[in-house]
Chain length 436, copies 2
């Protein structure tokens, strides 16, 4: 029996072992989904704290139900480890490590590189490997493949199979989660694609195979670039609308009544999270190699990078009408998460606005029911204070930066002296409210 | 009884007379929709040929069924005239005139101006006036209102009411037409809004009122700017994908499997028609007055304007691989309509590509079952030739510029020597086909 027949038989008999490398907001839900089907899953992470939590059935991802995690850990379907030599126990390895940007907005491929090196060192022959992290097209074939072949001494196609299958996790989405979100899969060979489908089908309802990893890589970038560009467009139009005395929120509501050819996006203080602000830069990076300038992404990035600054101006203008300066004023931010109802403040524009306000002498406070402490980009640390009458009334300006469902808008309006609303949480017609 | 009560009573009793000014692809369907409900409609147009056709029940708009037009004309519900003094017979005037760009891509408001002047001269007191043409925000209030008040000597609010309600006609759309496409309506006063709703409700299933004409003006611009920007984005990504050996069509197909946060747009030889290429320039125009640069629209325009040139390069590259030059080659274009299954070649990128090919010494031929003759931007005229074996085989290169449903792709592939496919009409794998 060759390697392909061997692994397909194992999969058919539910005897394959799945390794998930990286146990963050993508890897852990994926590991749990496989474990729920009764397949043995080993989670790998360099962070001993995460590993320890999982092995004790302690959940740290809001999208996973605590009871489900406990159940799969207790049934020994899922275990976690920091010991990468155990990669050799796995038949399939799904890589879910971060692909951030460095400070110069260039792809930081060190996590992928490190994962490939460890896999190359320790995997056994006959392993299926799939990358889920967002990255630039050609990564799987031209970046990962050489590392794994070099470190393992094994030959792709005969000894292992490499694929790319982008995660589509949308934190906080109540309708679509790992299992019911269709998954795109591209492999380097037909065998690889067949094996990959057989594996993923167990945890994901619908697999959409494509002809190559680079197609799948481009799919993910297209999805997120689409979002970046449209958020930027509506932010730019919102700024113009502000000058023209046009309520952009009413415009969007009306445009949404068009039953074809329109999808609504909303303005905000900037883009945040681990995808939209980052992914298009991955495409810009590889485009340079092909002597290609991506003018839409460039323009979009330009607008979004400036949004937090415009938001600072908004706060300053609102205070100015009350004859106050930012310098010495108490500014109370509501929400530092980059989107509502989640506990993730990565790349959140609120943090940048807080830094700017602090720079200009403002006294910064914040509340976020999901995030008790934050550290800003400039290294300042803050702790969430209570959203109560006293703290609201005490602030010279209350800034609505994240539209968490738990925020009681009436209560906030009742007690705040001045409000800057960046999320359209308050209806028009309140004199003390300034809207984006 | 004051003017407001008077017109509302007429509307209630179905005794109002509707005047539609401009009988093109927006005005004529709208006129027919009102006439179908039994209301008396007078169509106004300066073109005696159109007026004559309508009065003889001869249809010239593909989206209207011939029998329906005949019926409303025969029942005398609808009649047309070139005599603008008859504007005084109307209780409501709906303006559906063109708002094109001049050669410098600046708004050409002469049609709106002329319509307002005629209306001001001839209308009676107590008339409701609504503009449907796409235009920049503030047009209704700051451009139309002064002209009508000056020409009529009447006072807005007491003697007449002005509103803006953008057309959303999508030629060739089989699901959504005038009646079942929700309509946005913004008026200058509460009375105007009430009267406008009462009138439009008879011909349109759903009216979405907004707080002002400028909101409604911005709605239409947002809808079309959204399309422009997204078409531009996918065109730019298609050009990069071409360099990276990535099939962008396969990428889009896979991205479409994402069940949230994505809407598919497709690349093509450029943008065409009377909306997408024009409307965003209307916004750019007014933005300048507010010292505001619209960088997304600017970047989008830049890409789309260059697309026909890239398409010329594609044709030249395809011929080159067969050791042929454009100069002296016979290039056969299939489709000059700007989108499939319609008879409209306004702003069609095919015409620009034909001009470029002709400039470089190529011998240009075309077929379009919907358009028997065309005049290009440079003033060359062509007539459609048959889509037959001889004409296909005779061409050095066949260019698929419009994906009309009637085109038989197998037949074309069978007889053409070389094909450049700009519309993804042919599957991958045919050596003589070059795709965008």
């Amino acid at each position: 029996m060759n390697n392909t027949e061997n692994i397909l038989t194992k999969i058919k008999e539910n005897k394959e072992v799945i390794g998930v490398v990286g146990l963050g907001y993508v890897g852990l839900p994926l590991a749990v989904n496989f474990a729920e089907t009764g397949i043995k899953v080993i989670g790998f992470d360099k962070n001993p704290d995460k590993v320890d939590k999982i092995n004790h059935g302690t959940n740290y991802i809001e999208d996973i139900r605590d009871a489900v995690l406990r159940e799969v850990v207790e049934s020994i379907a899922l275990s976690a480890t920091t010991d990468f030599t155990r990669l050799k126990e796995c038949d399939a390895l799904l890589i879910c490590v971060p692909t951030p940007l460095d400070v110069f907005k260039k792809p930081d491929m060190s996590y992928v590189e490190s994962a490939c090196t460890e896999i190359g060192k320790y995997m056994k022959a006959g392993t299926f490997i799939s990358l889920e992290s967002t990255t630039y097209p050609t990564t799987t074939e031209e970046f990962m493949l050489p590392i794994i072949e070099r470190e393992s001494g094994l030959k792709h196609g005969d000894d292992f199979w490499l694929a790319y299958s982008p995660e589509r996790v949308d934190p906080g989405n109540k309708s679509f989660h790992t299992r019911n979100t269709p998954k795109v899969l591209g492999a380097l060979t037909g065998d690889g694609l067949q094996i990959g489908q057989a594996i993923y089908e167990k945890a994901i309802d619908s697999i959409h195979p494509v002809s190559s990893p680079r197609i799948a890589e481009m799919v993910k970038i297209l999805e997120n670039t689409y979002r970046l560009v449209n958020i930027s467009l509506i932010n730019e139009l919102a700024l113009l609308a502000g000058k023209m005395d046009i309520n952009i929120w009413e415009v969007i509501d009306a445009a949404k009544t068009k039953p074809f050819g329109f999808q609504a996006f909303y303005p905000g203080p900037g883009i945040g999270g681990h995808c939209i602000p980052l992914d298009p830069f991955y495409l810009e990076h590889i485009a340079k190699k092909f002597n290609f300038e991506l003018s839409m992404i460039h323009a979009a990035g330009h607008i979004n990078m400036r949004m937090p600054h415009y938001m600072y101006i908004k706060i300053s203008t609102a205070l100015n009408r009350q004859k106050k300066a930012v310098n010495g004023s108490k500014i109370f931010f509501l929400g530092v998460a980059y989107k509502p109802n989640i506990n993730d403040e990565r790349e959140s524009p609120a943090l940048e606005i807080m830094d700017t306000v602090a720079h200009k002498g403002g006294i910064v406070m914040y509340n976020d029911p999901h995030i008790p402490h934050v550290k800003t980009n400039e290294g300042f640390t803050y702790s969430s204070i209570g959203l109560n009458e006293k703290n609201l009334a005490n602030a010279d300006c209350v800034v609505l930066t994240t539209n968490h469902n738990s925020y009681n808008v009436d209560f906030i309006q009742q007690h705040a002296k001045l409000i800057v609303d960046m999320r359209n949480m308050i209806e028009e017609g309140n004199d003390k409210v300034y809207k984006l």
